[in-house]
Amino acid sequence: MGSIADIHEKLVTKQVSCTELTKSYLEEIEKANTALNAYVCVTGEEALDTAAAVDKKIAAGEEIGMLEGVPMALKDNMSTKGIETTCCSKILTGYKPIFDAAVWEKLKAQNAVLLGKTNMDEFAMGSSCETSYFGGAMNPFDVNHVAGGSSGGAASAVGGNIAAYGLGSDTGGSIRQPAAFCGVVGLKPTYGAVSRYGLIAYGSSLDQIGPITKSVEDASIVYDAIAGADRRDSTSVGAKNGPTYPQLNNDIAGLKIGIAREYLDGVRDDVKEAVLAAAKVYESLGAQIVYFDLPILKFALPVYYIIACAEASSNLGRYDGIRYGYKTAHYNGTHDMICRTRSEGFGGEVQRRILLGTYVLSAGYYDAYYKKATDLRGTIIKAFNNAFENCDVILAPTVPMTAFEKGHATSDPVETYLTDICTVPVNIAGLPGVSVPCGFNAKGMPIGMQLIGKSFDESTILNAAYRYQLAAPENFKDTKWGVKL
């Protein structure tokens, strides 16, 4: 199915050259992108230059790394030197960073072949990818359905086989939710495991970069490659427990998998059945399922929106039409110029979140909203710590439903926020979570389950996910699109 190890093997054994491989990805992007809208910028020239360098190394008999020459994509909120980086917002059109994001620096140093920048909700604010200035990314299983969000383009590209893997960012579910919708694997690492230097900020205490891949091994390989401390991001400490790849395929007999009943409340029946069927698979592998209550979860969603919007209102203060990006054409005075630039440059959802964030931080409301939300954040963290005294991993649905039809999410903001109910607790608590395909609904749309781990325990959740993948390979399906390897 075009896994990273397959591609590596084909390159090393000279079954295909990196240039031929890259060309076939670029050709398939050309064919599929009109329907999927996964890429907002294709970097064909850069990709072929890197591919030529990799071919030269192979021809000279040099050894190549696992990710070397593997064609991939970056979400459009990760800075790429000299390549337009817009966050899919009008306000950043034309912006070409003068530096690379830390994650891209690491992958570029390994000769990763960058195919392009992928579509996303504007400034990562959305759950359907439809707030993108360039229109939404579509689902490779059915293009009348959304790819999810905010990293919808990356999930659509990987599910559509027009990238071997992609990097997304996850503030409240933005890697895991689109991965679940598009039938692929998405890992949100522990807060602090991966440097956010060069990631355009949304909610700085919640944001984390992670891989979107075809398989669990691929997620492990890419995570190991991007994790690490970085002095340019003071919150980064790296993968404290070492690489995850050597830990895959450990025995899971005796592993305690917890299911919080609250995670199943309000979840659609087909999703609930698929997740409980996965629990049965785990029991057959010798794991032990333990049920418990986590009542504080019902406050996670408003806590998330208050904190995320407060941080966003501050982070997005930098867009003023002076230093980069879009600037209004007509104005009278500096204040008027900044206000008009921002109102014309930001879309509706971004403006709503800036307004909410400003409201909860303003005098008279700070204690009732922002302070209360951060205190509850402490309570939620403690509740997870307590839960992990009785289990090693928590199993939950990734999203309460499958991918919705296009246009559905844009009508009611509050209803759309509810789709994030299963994903936001992980960001609030800074924990790692991986979404893994666990079945299909009656219409053939993928269902995702989520494995949540203790801080810096990516190894345990990835190993548990890998054992599930081996036991239920039928849930990891290819779509009709893209490169066939």
């Binding site: 039409g321 980069y324 500096t334 921002r342 109102s343 909410l356 608590a429």
Partner: protein, 92 residues
């Protein structure tokens, strides 16, 4: 209850310009979002204080001058520039 005046005031603080015809719609949608956020007031007060995530703490380092990006490179993204500075005109 959030009023039109509240929204105008928040918009001013946010440096956003809300056209008169959008004010009523935005007030309604802000009210809905704030009602949703109000749910936290039903949460039990546990006395927990949020301190840090994953025991991360402040990073201190020596105040050393290190090379940064060239001014000419930084200015390439500016809508307007003059004499190695960002240019802000009062009117256009």
């Amino acid at each position: 209850m959030i009023t039109r005046e509240d929204v105008e005031n928040i918009a001013l603080l946010s440096k956003l310009f809300v056209p008169e015809e959008e004010l009523d719609g935005l007030t309604r949608s802000m009210q809905e979002i704030i009602d949703f956020a109000d749910a936290i007031n039903n949460a039990p007060t546990s006395g927990e204080e949020f301190d840090n995530i994953n025991n991360l703490s402040n990073v201190f380092r020596e105040d050393e001058v290190i090379p940064s990006y060239p001014v000419t490179e930084i200015l390439k993204n500016a809508p307007e520039q003059a004499e190695d500075h960002f240019l802000v005109r009062n009117r256009e």
